[in-house]
Amino acid sequence: MAFILRRLLFYIAAAWVALTLNFFIPRAMPGNAVSAILDKFPNLQPSAAKALQAMLGVDHAGSLWHQYWAYLVHIAHFNFGTDLQQYPASVSQLLGETIPWTLTLVGTATIIAFLIGTALGIAAGWRYGGWLDRVLPGLMFFQAIPYFFLALLLVDLIGVKLHWFPTGTGYSGGLVPGWHWGFIGSAIDHSILPAFTIVISSVAGWMLQMRNVMVTTISEDYVVAAQAKGLRTRRVVFTYAARNALLPQLQGFGLALGFVVSGAIVMEIVFAYPGIGLLLLSAVSSDDFPMMQAIFLVITFAVLLANLIVDIIIVFADPRARARGADR
């Protein structure tokens, strides 16, 4: 329990670093949102700058310290400011519409990829030098492909040429989003191809990592001893070797998560999936800084939360951790 609490404090510290970076970057950088808009619309009088500042909430009233405090208070109330592009919609309102899509798609697909990859890694590591181990270098090709490029290929082959799955958007036009089967079925149908992309491109990474830890673990004395005792292979593989190899694998999962999520979000753009990726693309192309910054915070918080969950799983999965926790 003490461990989880300490980790929680660590993640709060990390979140604070992200918040602080997010606060100071716009103030330290040469360009800013106001001048970006002024550049875009040369007709605007320079005097419009003040009005724009007030509208965007970047009018520099009070000391830096004052602004910083006001900013933290705003964030605590999920107030990320007004969106530039779809004015006057608020950023948090737009985010609220897209987060469920991304969370469902990327979350589910990543967990599936992790489970498949870990299982394959166990198999490859147990029989290292076997056929599964030998195809691994081939799988690395998929690991090296940018997510969005694989998405382009899949859309072209499966979506456009074969018409197996719909591409683009999250559900068929004409459906009203809601909890009814027509919509849910259509949403699942539209998410299969993006999810498949995530699984294909991330599974090799999890597999390679698990395989490497597995290979190291199975030459430990206790695994040899378990085999010598004549235990069933299944028991040796899963209870003795894989269970211990899983701990570093879970830690790696936590660390790689940010990378996987970022890749998946860029991939959403190719599918025109109504998630954060598309929002990010439109924010970038229209210099919509409030939105970019809010997306950074949201993704960071999600990754931190996922890491905390991984920590909790580690504590429950590792008897050593539980034993030590009880000691304290």
Partner: protein
Amino acid sequence: MTTAIPITTSQPADLIADKVPGRWRRLPVKAKVGAGLLGAFVLAGVIGPLVEPYDPAYQSPNPALSMNGPSLLHLLGTTQTGQDVLSQLLTGIRLTLEVAVITGVVATVLSVVVGVTAAFLGGFWDELLSLVSNVFLVIPALPLLVILLGYLQDKGQWPTIIVLSVLGWPWGARVIRAQTLAIRNRDFVAAARETGERTWRILLYEIVPNEISLIAANFVNTVLYAIGTSVALAFIGLTDLNSWSLGTMLYWAQSQDALQLGAWWWFVPPGLAVALIGTGLVLLNTGIDEFGNPRLRDAGNVGKISGHRLQPTSPTPVLTELAAERSRMGAFVHSFSRNSLLDGKDGRP
């Protein structure tokens, strides 16, 4: 990046250092294939722009030459505006590799400096530096890069290189710190200290040369990260869109509906180039890993170490970190890290 868990070993340095003829033959096949793939692309990047048939930015005024499939005149077809895809590809490979290699060098130097410093200072400062790198490891880099580059747009490739380097060091620093901790108490370091060598000389001439294979692996990893991330950022449109890199090619292909128009010759070559360069790097890295850690070598290669058959039963590389002596402050900071889970009651593993 989902690479292998860093495993500290002590053998790689002497294995790599001795220059025996036929060392190339003893390299794992994976490393050879990887090096071959990379070599081909580096060659394409170096001589490509000299031999490319057209100016990559040249827009053909002839409407009949727009969106043409591969032909003898244009080996990889043309874009919407009649630009030659092959020429763009060759220029793009060069620019992408340049950005990635410079980023790799800068970020690797940063991670060596931070990692070695942390391990050598020890105590509180070590834990503090580790805490900082852990924080930056857990904050996702891409969205942060998006903001930074959003504010630094249209200023050429340098913002991308700088920002990628600044965010690319923590992973390497962790690995190198662990390795430095493992070797800093070895006899040869103690001997150097006894003979009165200055600390910086010990670091530069005793410690760092013994970590060369780890640093090389870290460099390869960082280049991989730089290619993946810079291409993704360019794909979103966060770079100088008038330059030709593999990422900007993909950006234009996507934004000009190459996909919907079925112009596969436009988006497949740059993407495939990124994937193949990446595969080369991953293979090379796995090769380096196996070279240093016999346990990861597959059965076919086991026999190839120094001529006689060796079974991978040498002492297990230690996965848990070696604990440096911690001050009370250091132990306090350390207790917030994930590794503290494996500590005993007294704060040592």
